[in-house]
Every structure is written in C-alpha cells, then in structure tokens.
C-alpha cells in the first residue's frame, strides 16, 4: 500500500513539476493561436460567396464553386506549369550545386582561405529579394548593365534576361541558386567533417588515391544527407518564390514567369476576388501539404529523419 502510494505521490510530483513547462509554452501557443490559427479560419472564404460586410459567418456557402471558377480560368494551368517548372529546377540546382561546392571546398585545407570563400558565398543568402532585385535589374539590363556589357564585349547581343519570356524562368532559377547555394552547402560541409577519418586511413593503406577515396568514401559518406535534403525539398514543389518573382517580373514575362503566389496576389488584392484568390491559396497549401507529408514520411523511411 505504502509503496503504491509512494509511486502515486511520485507521479503527482512529476506532474506538478510539469506545470511550469506549460506556463513556458503558453505565450507562444496563445500568439500562434491568434495569428496563425485565427487566420486559418479565414480559409472558409474559399468556400463562400464572400461578402465583406457579412463576414466569414454571414456569407453564403457555395461549396466548390470558387475552385471550379479558378480551374476554368485560362491562366490557371499556365501558372501551375510555370510554378512547377521554376520550382523543380530550383530544387535540383539547390541540391547539386551546394553538394559540388561543398566537395570542392572540403579539399581546401588552408583555414583562412576556406573561411574567406565561405564568407563570400554566404553573403547573398542574407539579403532580401527587394535588394537583390534592385541589383539584378540593374546589372542584367542589356544596355547599361554590367553583365550586358560583358556579353557585348564578345560581340554578342546580350539577351534580355528579365524582360524576355524565353530567358526569364532561367534567370529566376540561376539567380535563386546563386543566392542560396553557399548557405545550402553548410549542411554538406558538416556531413563531410562527420565522416570517420579512419576510413580514409585504411583506404590509404589499401593504396587508394584521392579520387578513389572521394568516390568510395566521401560521396557515400554524404549520400544519406543528400537524400534527406532532396526528399525534404520536394515539399517546395509549388514554391516558385514569391519575393523573388514579384520584385522582378513584368506583364511581358507572365507567359513563363507568373507563378501561383503572384497570381494569388493579383487576383486577391488587385482584382478583389478574395474568394477565388483564397481558393487558389488553399489549393496550393493542400498540394504542398501532401508533398510535405509524403516527403517527411520518405525522409523517415530513407534516412531515419524526424522533425522532432
């Protein structure tokens, strides 16, 4: 009896000790509750003939009509296609380039040199697309921009990177990779330093040269990280990059450059089609959610990764 009581008491004490933990998480839970979950209630608009004066609770519910209207819009398919195209190549480039860069940087043994190169390539990652758009619009101008003048110095006609629909998606992909690859390589550099040095020692004993070592030790050593990052990045399949494109596009590149997020913005805020715009946003969220859940499931299976 006493023993049993002791356990109960122990458990009580344990629960009691948990109480401060609830107090610690409470502020964030309340704020997230208001600003994230509160806003999530607004998703209801997507199923309504939304009238602002009647609000979310007074507007008429019309089922999936807004989605039908949305999918019937002539631009919708085009926007979807552009989004997937841009996001897909950003995703591929966002894996391949940092991996190669990390492999090359890993060969640099001079600490100072390594550090300096890292500082340089990390820089773009920390700047906003507002600033970078300002810079790119300037340097990519065919007539006055430095890139245009560079190309022209070879006697070539510089293409119009941000004004020509043929070049625009590529420009978005390249500039995005340029911005993110440096910082993206951090994780692979870490994986590289994590490879057991004894593996290399024994390889040297076996007479393997550097190339062989790279092929049979280094690359397999980071493969799981690469797979993990690939899987996780799949969640971004509908993320064309609003900040970037919004600040660089113009109507002349809509055919190839308009993405879901910019489309939602124009539809919702500029054309006041709140319901259809919210429906488009919800569509994107749902597709993304499927991809995210699938990718986390895959990450768990393939690399034993869990977010928490």
């Amino acid at each position: 009896m006493t023993g049993n009581f002791g356990v109960r008491k122990n458990q009580m004490r344990k629960y009691k000790r948990e109480i401060p933990l609830y107090f610690l998480v409470a502020p964030a839970m309340i704020l997230v509750g208001i600003y994230s979950y509160g806003a999530m209630a607004g998703i209801g608009i997507a199923f309504q003939k939304f009238v602002a004066t009647k609000g979310l609770f007074g507007s008429e519910w019309i089922g999936l009509t807004n989605f039908k209207t949305l999918f019937a819009l002539p631009d919708f398919l085009r926007v979807l296609r552009n989004t997937v195209f841009i996001a897909f190549f950003k995703m591929i480039g966002g894996i391949v380039v940092p991996v190669i860069f990390a492999l090359l940087l890993n060969e640099v043994k001079n600490k100072f040199l390594k550090r300096s190169i890292q500082t340089m390539v990390y820089l773009p990652n920390f700047l906003s697309w507002v600033i970078l758009a300002g810079i790119f619009v300037d340097i990519l101008s065919p007539s006055t921009g430095i890139v245009g003048r560079f190309i022209a110095s070879f006697g070539l006609t510089p293409p119009f990177f941000i004004g020509d629909p043929k070049w625009f998606p590529g420009t978005m992909i390249i500039t995005d990779i340029w911005k993110t690859f440096g910082f993206g390589s951090v994780i692979y550099l870490a994986a590289l330093t994590g490879i057991d040095p004894t593996l290399y020692e024994s390889a040297v004993m076996d007479g393997a040269n550097r190339w062989k070592q790279t092929l049979y030790i280094t690359i397999p050593g980071i493969t799981s990280t690469v797979i993990l990052m690939t899987v996780l990045s799949m969640a971004n399949i509908l993320n064309g990059g609003f900040d970037q494109i919004f600040n660089m596009y113009s109507p002349s590149v809509y055919p190839t450059g308009d993405i879901i997020d910019t489309f939602v913005y124009r539809l919702g805020i500029q054309q006041t089609k709140f319901a259809i715009s919210t429906a488009a946003g919800l569509f994107k969220s749902c597709v993304s959610l499927v991809f995210i859940l699938a990718s986390y499931w895959l990450a768990d299976k393939a690399a034993g990764y869990r977010i928490f």
Binding site: K14, Y15, E18, L21, L24, V25, P27, M29, L31, V32, I34, Y35, S36, G38, A39, M40, A41, G42, I43, F101, E107, V108, L113, S116, I117, T119, M120, V121, Y122, L123, P124, F126, L127, S128, V130, I131, G134, I135, F136, D138, I139, T144, I146, W178, V186, I187, A190, P197, V204, N209, T225, D243, N247, G268, I269, S277, S285, L289, Y305, F308
Partner: protein, 301 residues
Amino acid sequence: MEMKIKNSAPRKLFLTVNVIVLLAIGLICVLPFINVLAISFSGKIAVTAGQVTFWPVDFNTDAYAFITRSSAFVKALIVSVERTVLGVAVNLILIVITAYPLSKPTSEFHARNFISWYFVLTILFSGGLIPSYMIVRYTGLMDNILALVLPGSLPVFSMLVVMNYMRSLPHELEEAAYIDGASHIRTLIHVVLPISTPTIATVTLFSFVGHWNSWFDGLIYMNSPEHYPLQSYLQTVVTNPESFFRQTTNLNEDLKTMLNLVNSRTANSAQLFLATLPILAVYPFLQKYFTTGLVMGSVKG
C-alpha cells in the same frame, strides 16, 4: 588526428585549380555588390554612359548625401531598426521558452507531442493574406509596429532547430540541476542556455535577417508611407524609381539642386548598399556557429 599525405603533382595541380575556381565562385557572389557600390560612388554621367564596373568613376559621395538628407529614407531606417530590435527580442524569448519544454522527453512533459504538432501545423498550413490581414485588424495592430512583430512572433522552424539542439545536450547536466533542486527556469537560464550559444547565435541571425529583410507586411499593415520599414520603402522605390525622387524633391530647394548631381541609378545604388550594410556587419561574426548551431539542430533526430 591529421593524416600526412604527400601530394602528387596532379594533386597539386588540382588543388591549385580548385582554389582558383572556388575564389572565382566567391567573387561571382560578391561582384554584383561591388558593382552597386562602385555605381553609388560614381558620377551621374559616367553611370549613365555605362562606364562603371568595379571601381567608382568620378568618385563622389553625392548620392549618399542626397539620400541621407531625404527624410523618407531616414524615417524608414529608424522604423526598420525599431522593428528589428523588438522583433528579434520577441522571437528569441519565445523560441527559448518554447523550445525548452518541448525538448523534454514525453515522459517529463506529457503534452509535448501534441504541442509540437500544434506548432508544426502552422508551417504546413497558413490562412493566406486576407485572413491574416483581418486578424491583424481585429487585434487592433493596424499601423502599429507590433503588426510587424506579433504575427510572426514564434518562428517555428528556428524553434525546432533550438529544440533539437537542446535535446542533443547531455541529459546528465539537467539531471544534476534537478537533483540540486533547481527549478525549470533556473535550469534553463543557468544550465541549458550557456551551452546553447551556437544554436542561439544561429537563430538570432535568422531572426535578424528575417526582420531586416521583410517588406510585404510593412506595405499592407502600415497606414502611411512614413511608417514603412526600410525594405518596404525600398520596394516602392525599386519598382518605381521616380516615386523616390518625388518624395525627396518635394522637400526643399536644397534637394532639388542635388538632383543635378545624382540620378535614380546612383541614388538607388546608394540606398541598396546602405540597406545591406547591417547584414554585412553582422553575419561574418556569427559564421563560426552555423555548422554546430544549424546542423545539430536540424539533423539530429
């Protein structure tokens, strides 16, 4: 233990070429900024004629004199500093006090999984622009700097990074503190925080960068251009260079005469560079924490 490998000739060649290639890549990352910097210090005529590459032509500081005299830029700068200081403080406090309980095993904090999902779900789903706008309005934050701080008060991804980092810490430390009778708060402040420097430094940088770089919320939640933070203001200038000249030329004759010395390209370049400066000043010093702070926080399961 360092291995001493004698480098063969081809290997040496590879290493040399490698360093050159990497330096070139590094340069590609910074040259655009150098170009902008050079333009901002160059004469209007040389810029228009396209003579400026990486070194100022007709060196002068007119563009900087011009924009620092424009009250719009300075006002926006002040708003940005305020929001960043406030925003980073709020972010950090919430990250730490939220990550700590969630880093406990389920046996010590029974609601842990539920609460974790509660937060993670908000990454996966969001209400969209218009509902978010309505919430900000209903909570009375329109045109208030808190509208730029509270809606994103807990960056969930950063919180997960810190949480995972804390979980990876040796459990014995906290055990010891617990046995000594320390409260959770004491343990957090005196035991956990001091050894979480790398991850805290990393998420501080993220928050700092995030707040400094945000522009969209400023445009929609602020009720007058004077309350825009720097990036929102820059966004209106970048998409519409003339609006900047308008705002400033309206002020006084003094600025009008300065217009003869600068044009939208030199002035814009100077503004872009000034907006970059705080970032340039901060991130290289936090660089050494990235690997430990970020990697241990995100990969460790």
